[in-house]
Amino acid sequence: MLEKEVHIIRQAQQGNPEYFGMLYDHYLTPIYRFVFLKIGTKAETEDLVHEIFLSAWKNIEDYDHLGFPFSSWLYQIARHKVIDHYRTKKNNLNIENVSEENLKVVNIIENELDKNLDLNKIKDAIKQLNEDQQNVLIMRFVEDLSYEEISAVLDKSEGAIRLIQHRAIQSLKQIINKNGEQFI
């Protein structure tokens, strides 16, 4: 959570773009990561992330601070944008191009970290989970959100989130083991 977030949000709600810029800078990366892991292509992720923040800027007055960080609200917008994206997506996507683009993006990360890390396998395995499991896994283990925050984003009880998390981990292990990965 951003320091003095409530004050920053109030300023942004009064139409001050500088303050919204602070929120943008703070939350861009986690929201980008969340969308990228669900969409998988750089270009589409960028389009969606732009739409998410534009929508947040236009409707920031509707955000009510109820003890949850601003990120919960942003994740809600992101989740709905991703659902809309898949709902309206035409069947004209070239699978080969997508794979190339994925590899390109993840390869950059791999080169920066370690040649041996196989992020693509984890990313692809996560994409095979159902929507709730993907959301919980990304928010919990990649973004380090609390159960309370995740339950606010997904509109489910904390118990349900824990159950989804448990199933997500089991499914992920099964998927990776099925693909012959040794490190699990």
């Binding site: 919204f20 534009l54 993840v106 970290l113 990304i138 490190f183 699990i184």
Partner: protein, 145 residues
Amino acid sequence: MGSNLFNKIKLLKQIKPEADFALTSRRIILSTTKKPHYQILFKKQLQQTLILSAAMGMAVILLLVVGQVSSLPLDGLSPNLISSLNSKDLASEQQNLDFNIQLADAKYYKESTTQVTMILNIDSDSNTIKKQADNLDSLIKELAL
């Protein structure tokens, strides 16, 4: 084993947007004109007023309905409906019903007994005729011999 998986998942944290995209998108978003603040405030006020009015309306309707039910003139209702609420009347109605059923049963038994007797008589008569016919047959046969 499990922690290894979590470590691998944590590596996904390295995914970041490109700096060019971040700057361009930020500039475009922040240059987007928003509705004037007074319009937004007016919209919010209007929404709140509508919600409050709807709630008040519902409360008034509920009060009217509850008030009317408690002040209903029960004396003006149909006597049958009122008697149906009295336990003594209900008990006497039940006794009358039982008595009527017993009368109907007695009538049925009486009629059915008469009918059965008549059928039995007819049957016994037919048996007698049959016996006489048999006797006649045997007589005819004897005569023929």
